[in-house]
């Protein structure tokens, strides 16, 4: 038992470190890019721009309709066949951003459609341009609506980054697998890495609550 505890304590920093150095940067960078993609794609559809709207629909269709793992394999193992070589980390960022961007685009679009048309018209009537109304009136309101589902996606992404182990990104899960191979303690170590993911998710859930409170200043309290 003391052996187990010693192994647990000994491996904890070894698992946490790649968590802080890889899992979190991978998540933060990918999610930030995904949000950018989501807002642009949602706005294109909201504005009903011809051709571009169809392109956005196709993008969402493909990235929501195929497994994340398959996307990772296509980019990392498949693309070199046609001469496109991408390092593991950037490949993971690319796939995670595109995949999450497709999902979040739908979240943001739905939230934009939930903003009453009168908000846009009021902006028009005070002489604001389309982009001014979007940036200052519609998007802030839509992002508040989209905040809880987007937070969900962020937490899901933290966990999904474990898939990056499959394309040789040395994130937490891969490091854990290596320790297991050395120590033959799969139960202890996989539970341990699970706990670290739980820790990350818990922190994010806490941040989400705080964020929602701040964003809710202009929203009527539900009774």
């Amino acid at each position: 038992m003391s052996n187990a505890l010693a192994l647990f304590l000994d491996s904890f920093p070894k698992i946490l470190l790649p968590g802080l150095a890889m899992t979190i940067p991978l998540t933060v960078i990918s999610f930030t890019i995904a949000l950018g993609i989501a807002i642009v794609v949602a706005m294109v559809q909201h504005a009903k721009l011809p051709v571009l709207t169809q392109l956005c629909r196709a993008y969402i269709w493909i990235f929501r309709g195929t497994p994340l793992l398959v996307q990772l394999f296509v980019v990392f193992y498949g693309l070199p066949k046609v001469g496109v070589l991408i390092e593991p980390f950037p490949a993971a960022v690319l796939v995670f951003s595109l995949n999450e961007g497709a999902y979040s685009a739908e979240t943001v679009r739905a939230a934009m459609e939930a903003v009453p048309a009168g908000q846009f018209e009021a902006g028009q009537c005070v002489g604001m341009s389309y982009f001014q109304i979007m940036r200052r009136i519609v998007l802030p309101q839509a992002m508040r609506t989209a905040f809880p589902p987007l937070s969900n996606s962020l937490i899901a992404m933290v966990k999904d980054t474990s898939l990056a182990a499959n394309i040789t990104v040395t994130e937490m899960f891969m490091v854990t697998q290596r320790i297991v191979a050395r120590t033959y303690e799969p139960l202890l170590l996989y539970v341990e890495v699970g706990l670290v993911y739980l820790l990350f998710s818990t922190v994010l859930t806490f941040v989400q609550r705080r964020g929602e409170k701040r964003l809710n200043v202009y929203v009527k309290k539900e009774v």
């Binding site: 009453p116 009168g118 005070v126 341009s129 001014q132 508040r144 202009y218």
Partner: protein, 245 residues
Amino acid sequence: MLLEAKGVCKRFGELEVLKNVDLAVNAGDAAVIVGPSGAGKTTFLRCLNFLETADAGTLSFEGDARDMRSMTKKEIRAYRMHTAFVFQGFNLFLNKTALHNVTEGLVTARKMHKKEAEARGMEALRRVGLAEKSGHYPHQLSGGQQQRVAIARAIAAEPKIIFFDEPTSALDPELTGEVLGVMRSLAEDGMTMLIVTHEMEFARTVSNKLIFMEAGEVVEAGDTAKIFSNPEKERTAAFLRPFNK
């Protein structure tokens, strides 16, 4: 003539909502549009501010006549810099405080400095009696207060004309008075207003020009007192009779 619309037509699918509607508003007029529900009053007002695109019609603003269908986005924005619109449902920006509702258009569309805009915003809020609510969000205000903020937002831009679409219809009866009071005082100050309303007592006492619309057409238009006391058309007389005691 400040604003003159001629031959405005609009249909929604099969439904002809506006049939050759004409209108003339002079600077300083308080003009009201009255008529039964479904007459096309809201649609007409929305066409005049290009929230709807008319199918036909010319609009001359300060003598500059334009085909309403061929106005570019840029021309429409330029025109809107001189007009304001007060909605039946207020449409205050939900994510902005009362003061920032008023300053938003000044800062973004008119590129005014924030300080100057806020000074002007406070002035406008004072005008509608809501200076002390400047930091409140719309959901923290009563309907009557929200509509007064909307009026402050309208006047802050110093428009040449304000369009009102039934500004008190969404309000509880006890709150209509405060909004009508503000509008009455704007009229006394010579603000040019075009008001769609069902408040006949307000129309009779405040407006100098009355337009009676029915089924997409102007039945009668002219001096308010004259139309109330001596309408030319039988339809107008029938509509006004309940209010003419």
